[in-house]
């Protein structure tokens, strides 16, 4: 199946199951990444991603076709992550870093430094409080605006601005060696 996300949603509403399969293939990376970056656990992130797609499938009739299906799906994922964090009340560290250069036999050696820097960044973000981590992930991984982050997290825009500033100040201290 080809077409825009809105066309696939229309096919889904007419009972075509393969259209939703195509939507899952298109956006599973985004959904899983947001869940894993916010929660920090690969297995929990996979469960949350599955639940997000099922929520989206049940709520397809309420989706208004405006070309914003990824944003709508990201909103569902973010809310599920916040609910999961609220219910569990515990912080989970990122236990592994995918894409290790040692596992890539044909990768160039220059990617090793990139992976190390990426690991440093993730560890630094992991050390942040969850509120700061959320705004950093949504801002620099998902490239959302302040207003969109505020809608995703359910907080005012000024709060997003403040959290971003404080998160950057902590990250500057944590990544001092990397930045130099």
């Amino acid at each position: 199946l080809h077409g825009t996300d809105d066309e696939l949603v229309a096919h889904c509403l007419h009972g075509r199951r393969e259209a939703f399969s195509e939507l899952v293939l298109r956006h599973q990376r985004m959904v899983y990444s947001v869940a894993r970056a916010m929660l920090g656990d690969a297995h929990v992130a996979e469960d949350i991603a599955q639940e997000a797609f099922l929520h989206a499938y049940r709520a397809l009739s309420s989706y208004q076709a405006q070309g914003k299906f990824p944003a709508w799906l990201r909103m569902i994922t973010t809310r599920l992550c916040l609910n999961h964090r609220r219910d569990n009340r515990r912080e989970v560290a990122w236990e592994d870093l995918s894409g290790h250069p040692a596992e890539q036999t044909d990768g160039p050696e220059s990617r090793l430094g990139e992976w190390e820097q990426r690991g440093e960044v993730r560890r630094a973000i992991d050390a942040l409080p969850c509120d700061f981590r959320d705004v950093i992930v949504l801002r620099y991984m998902e490239e959302l605006s302040y207003d969109e982050i505020a809608r995703h997290l359910g907080v005012p825009t000024s709060t997003v601005e403040t959290r971003l500033h404080r998160a950057k100040k902590q990250l500057r201290l944590l990544l001092k060696e990397t930045l130099v």
Partner: protein, 302 residues
């Protein structure tokens, strides 16, 4: 405006999230303050580092399978407006089935169980001796002879019984219809709508009685059920069956006692017992039973 106030707005200004007035204030301050320019450069380097380090994860291969396993098949959902034979038989024939059931329950007595009305064609029953039987054996034997109504299509001259093979013509005589509105004894009388309506009401009443028996019918079942197993037990507990004696001792009384009813009794007329023996006065009971001899033989003791 000092540097602490500007510091909060620098990153927002780099992201383009400030309004034009504040954006202009931050740009003016950066042109004059060297420390804030260094801070802005650090923010820029940090943002590029974060964008390089925060890349999306690859989704696990099992995620798509797990999601699609939870999505139901379209056939299970059932699209609206589909005309499959299964839908016909599951929903489309419900009114037809209800109509057929109504015809069986209500309409059936109309066609088969309705008693013969006086306006029906004359069905004359007469007692005639059967010539094939012995006269001694034919005593009391009743043979019903049904005479068909005279056909109006055929002329009466064609119904001549000169051949003698038609036994119904022997000694039979058509009785005139007792219906006052009947014009001819052989023709079908007019249908009385009032009588038909009464019959229909009675038929519906009987049907309701069968489906939902009224209170007096349920009371009748409860009060007149003589059998212990059929009698209603309070609390729904069935009667406990009598277990045979487990010991080898012979039962004291094997004969079944007749059912007796105490109709009267006389209190002892002892004014004041003076001795112990006087207190043991007997009370006289008057028993009544359908079998007084058995009562005497059984020897009731009180």
């Amino acid at each position: 405006m000092n540097c602490e106030q500007i510091e909060v707005w620098i990153s927002a200004a780099q992201d383009g999230e400030l309004d034009p007035r504040r954006q202009r204030q931050v740009e003016d301050h950066l042109t004059t303050c060297g420390g804030c320019r260094e801070l802005a450069a650090e923010w820029t380097a940090l943002e590029s580092t974060l964008r390089a380090g925060l890349v999306r994860f690859d989704a696990p291969e099992t995620l798509h399978t797990r999601v699609m396993r939870q999505i139901p098949e379209p056939a299970a959902i059932g699209r609206r407006g589909s005309w499959t034979p299964g839908n016909w038989f599951s929903f489309g024939l419900v009114p037809a089935g209800a109509a057929a059931a109504w015809m069986l329950l209500v309409g059936h007595p109309v066609t088969s169980r309705q008693p013969a009305r006086p306006s029906d064609p004359p069905r004359v029953s007469s007692t005639v001796p059967d010539p094939t039987l012995n006269p001694a054996e034919s005593i009391g034997t009743q043979v019903s002879v049904v005479k068909k109504p005279p056909s109006t299509d055929k002329p009466a001259s064609s119904g001549n019984t000169t051949g003698g093979s038609e036994r119904p013509s022997l000694g039979t005589k058509a009785t005139p219809s007792a219906r006052p509105g009947g014009t001819n004894s052989g023709s079908r009388p007019k249908y009385d709508p009032i009588r038909g309506l009464r019959q229909l009401r009675q038929r519906r009443r009987n049907y309701r009685m069968v489906q939902n028996p009224p209170h007096h019918r349920r009371h009748w079942r409860r009060n007149f059920a003589r059998d212990e197993s059929l009698r209603m037990v309070k609390g729904g507990r069935p009667p406990v069956p009598v277990q045979p004696p487990t010991t080898n001792e012979r039962p004291l009384r094997t004969a079944k006692l007749p059912r007796v009813t105490i109709v009267d009794y006389v209190l002892p007329q002892v004014p004041t017992p003076t001795t112990v023996a006087d207190g043991g006065a007997e009370t006289q009971f008057v028993l009544r039973s359908a079998q007084p001899q058995q009562v005497a033989q059984a020897g009731y003791e009180f």
